[in-house]
């Protein structure tokens, strides 16, 4: 960071980097290099994204007609598998296991994560979990919804619950190990001078994510285990026949799955902080507030799970408390949005592709967040609970937020990860297509939910058809929007123009090393003498 003006001399044309240092499948499958493991994850989660996407394509086709096309059984399995694959096998690992895995050691000035072999183990666990889930899909899928509510899942469902539950159980441990590795790395592996106050906000947000992964996921794991046991042995603690309480399952499930929502958004917020600062050429506004808000989100996320159960036999006073706390957790998120906006104020903004995704993120996440407040309000939740309003709300956060941030981050750091540039025109075009397709898909669902269309039904009254057709049309545009980057990234990997070490003129340790980095990232341990995002200084030096 102190050495922004000096570039490492390029040893053209054949410099050694983490990609070409070794060849052959063994060098990948047995690697302990965090950057290679990040790449393994990137391929795996992209594959899962398209599996989950395929399910969405199919059920959006079904919803073109009020009476549906598939049988209700098939439809139930399609949306369930879509949710399970997208949540547990794509969104949860998306940014932490790929971008953060690649970047955190570099950003803190270390050679690797604290436990490189544990990092590789986490990828194998992910693959094992994905294999179980794919087995469930191939055999005919699961029809419980991604929430696995008992006793339907434990007793009555006639689908492959066991395989999917085991898939989630195993993939959960991969998530735990990733979080554990990040926590220890941030605590113990920082380079000299890299104080907590100088950490990039991307590191802060992934540190907070790590805390949630470590504290929440084990509860999901034991819940899935108890559920699986109940399904196998026909006896257990959720079974109402012996006095078991199905609501207990929901409590345990949401104790993980609400914080998991923040596993699925905090890393994206970290990406936005990095990009917004770089393309405004300005220090982030209110660094301490943005860093602290990540921690506040991590803490508060654990005390709001009851807002999923307002209409499930929870007492009024419990509902009041959870409603109030859910409003509280919106505050740190809002702080972030204000600070990103203030960062852009009077900045010299450039409209490169990553920045376009930031604009998309801020707009869509704000809509998703504010509609979350509608759902946190007891009275309005009673009206909109279980409708498409909820579906639209969490897709605005998860897809409009996290997927936008993931794509923005991928475009931002792609030159660092591969050493190549992608086609500027195509990338801007696809960002636009994704934004349009997304809104066309999900905005009508707000209206549908408001009008009372329940989620998870294969058929619907004819008056809802126009909005549903609009949504399906949007989904096809969105799908094309996602395919375009797939194609040009593959092209860029091989034929893209060389990017150089710092194509964006960005601050941050990762931009001062070679692209792609060498296996150990730094030739010598760097010594950090400045705060993050010192773009004022950067301007001075570069003139």
């Amino acid at each position: 960071m102190a050495t922004i003006a000096h570039e490492i001399p390029q040893v053209a044309p054949e410099e050694v980097n983490y990609l070409n240092v070794e060849h052959g499948w063994k060098s990948w499958l047995l690697t302990t290099d965090h950057k290679r493991i990040a790449m393994l994850y990137l391929f795996s989660i992209t594959a899962m994204f398209f599996v989950g996407g395929l399910m969405a394509v199919l059920f959006r086709i079904n919803l073109l007609q009020p009476e549906g096309i598939f049988s209700p059984e098939t439809y139930n399995r399609l949306f369930s598998m879509h949710g399970i694959v997208m949540v547990f096998l794509f969104l949860v690992p998306s940014i932490p296991a790929t971008l953060a895995n690649f970047l955190i050691p570099i950003m803190v000035g270390a050679k690797d994560l604290a436990f490189p072999r544990v990092n590789l183990l986490s990828w194998y666990l992910y693959i094992a979990g994905a294999a179980f889930t794919l087995y469930a899909i191939v055999r005919g899928g699961v029809d419980t919804g991604w929430t696995f509510y008992a006793p339907y899942s434990s007793t009555y469902s006639n689908s492959y619950v066991l395989a999917a539950a085991m898939g989630i159980f195993i993939a959960g441990f991969s998530s735990i190990l990733t979080g554990l590795n990040f926590i220890v790395t941030v605590h113990k592996m920082r380079a000299p001078g890299m104080t907590w106050g100088r950490l990039p906000l991307f590191v802060w947000s992934n540190y907070a994510t790590g805390l949630i992964q470590v504290l929440g996921t084990p509860v999901l794991a034991i819940t899935m285990l108890l559920l699986a046991f109940e399904r196998i042995a026909h006896v257990g603690i959720f079974d109402p026949n012996i006095g078991g309480d199905p609501i207990l399952f929901q409590h345990l499930f949401w104790f993980y799955s609400h914080p998991a929502v923040y596993i699925m958004i905090l890393p994206g917020m970290g990406v936005i902080s990095e990009i917004v600062s770089c393309f405004s050429k300005k220090r982030i506004f209110g660094y301490n507030f943005v860093a602290f808000s990540s921690m506040a989100i991590a803490v508060l996320s654990f005390v709001v799970w009851g807002h999923h159960m307002f209409v499930t036999g929870e007492s009024v006073y419990t509902g009041l408390a959870f409603s109030f706390l859910s409003f509280m957790v919106a505050v740190p998120s809002a702080i972030k949005v204000f600070n990103w906006t203030a960062t852009m104020y009077k900045g010299s903004i450039s409209f490169d592709t990553p920045m376009l995704y930031v604009f998309g993120f801020i707009g869509l996440f704000t809509i998703g967040g504010l509609t979350g407040l509608h759902l946190a309000t007891l009275a309005t939740d009673v009206a909109t609970h279980g409708t498409y309003f909820v579906v639209a709300h969490f897709h605005y956060v998860m897809v409009g937020g996290m997927v936008m941030a993931f794509l923005g981050g991928l475009h931002f750091w792609w030159p660092k990860m591969t050493g190549r540039l992608y086609p500027e025109g195509w990338s801007k075009f696809s960002a636009l297509i994704i934004f349009i397709g997304f809104n066309l898909t999900f905005f009508p669902q707000f209206i549908l939910g408001y009008l009372g269309m329940p989620r998870r039904y294969q058929s619907y009254p004819p008056e809802f058809q126009a909005l549903n057709v609009l949504s399906s049309a949007g989904a096809s545009i969105l799908g094309i929007g996602y395919l375009i980057p797939m194609i040009y990234f593959v092209w860029s990997w091989k034929y893209g123009p060389k990017a150089g070490n710092n194509p964006w003129g960005a601050a941050g340790l990762e931009w001062q090393i070679q692209s792609p980095p060498t296996t150990f990232n730094f030739d010598e341990t760097p010594i950090v003498k400045e705060e993050a995002y010192n773009y004022g200084k950067l301007e001075e030096i570069l003139g």
Binding site: I183, V184, I237, G244, P526
Partner: protein, 229 residues
């Protein structure tokens, strides 16, 4: 970046320490710190893993106190208390093993590791006898559960017995993993791997072993001593 990068000032590393230092750490101290924090973080995840079952226990014990209390008549407190004592002894020998490793006393280290394994095995054998008794008395939910003495509690008592097997079973699995780790330590100790320069694995397994013991310290009163007798 060349001008700003200076050799990192840190404590001198002796050649004996150097062989144990993994490439991505700067100093043995950093390596030890990272391993320790990693282990503690892992133990926190374990607390939450068991926590799901403890929470369920709390809920149902509140709902069905009478049924839960009635199960104490069927629990073998003598065997449970014996096992508690066995595990406390094993914690002592484990602590002695760590101390021996720190002092480079190899023979002592191996001896204490074996003692710990023996205590662990005694625990599991006693536990197996208890499970067998429950089977004979038809107290395993799902396997012809019978509860003739308190027919009014027949349904709800099954929840306690399910939790009993889930919690002690999960605990036993952790014990078995611990025995595997101890055997590995014993082999490595035999190969002269541990001395005052490097004993982190012994210490880490020690933390794990103590954690598993502490879980039992909670399980024993919660499962065996609910009702007054």
């Amino acid at each position: 970046m060349a001008d700003a990068v200076m050799p990192v000032a840190h404590e001198a590393i002796s050649p004996e320490e150097e062989i144990y230092l993994k490439h991505h750490f700067a100093t043995p101290g950093q390596q030890m710190d990272a391993d320790t924090l990693g282990m503690w973080t892992f133990l926190i995840t374990e607390v939450l893993f068991f926590g799901g079952m403890f929470a369920s226990y709390a809920v149902y014990r509140n709902l069905y106190y009478g049924a839960f209390a009635s199960t104490s008549k069927y629990m073998n407190v003598t065997l449970g208390a014996t096992n508690t004592a066995v595990l406390i002894c094993s914690s002592l020998t484990m602590a002695m093993a760590v101390r021996s490793a720190q002092l480079s006393k190899r023979a002592q280290l191996i001896r204490y590791l074996f003692l710990t394994m023996i205590f662990g095995t005694i625990f599991l054998v006693i536990k197996a006898f208890e499970y067998h008794d429950k089977y004979v008395e038809h107290l395993i939910p799902g396997l012809g559960f019978q509860y003739e003495q308190f027919p009014q509690y027949e349904h709800n008592a099954q929840i306690l017995f399910f939790l009993y097997f889930a919690m002690t079973g999960m605990h036993a699995i952790h014990m078995i993993v611990g025995l595997g780790l101890l055997s590995w330590l014993a082999i490595e100790a035999y190969r002269r791997k541990y001395n005052e320069n490097y004993f982190t694995p012994v210490e880490m397994v020690g933390l794990y072993w103590h954690f598993v013991d502490i879980v039992w310290i909670f399980l024993f009163p919660l499962l065996y001593l609910i009702g007054d007798r």
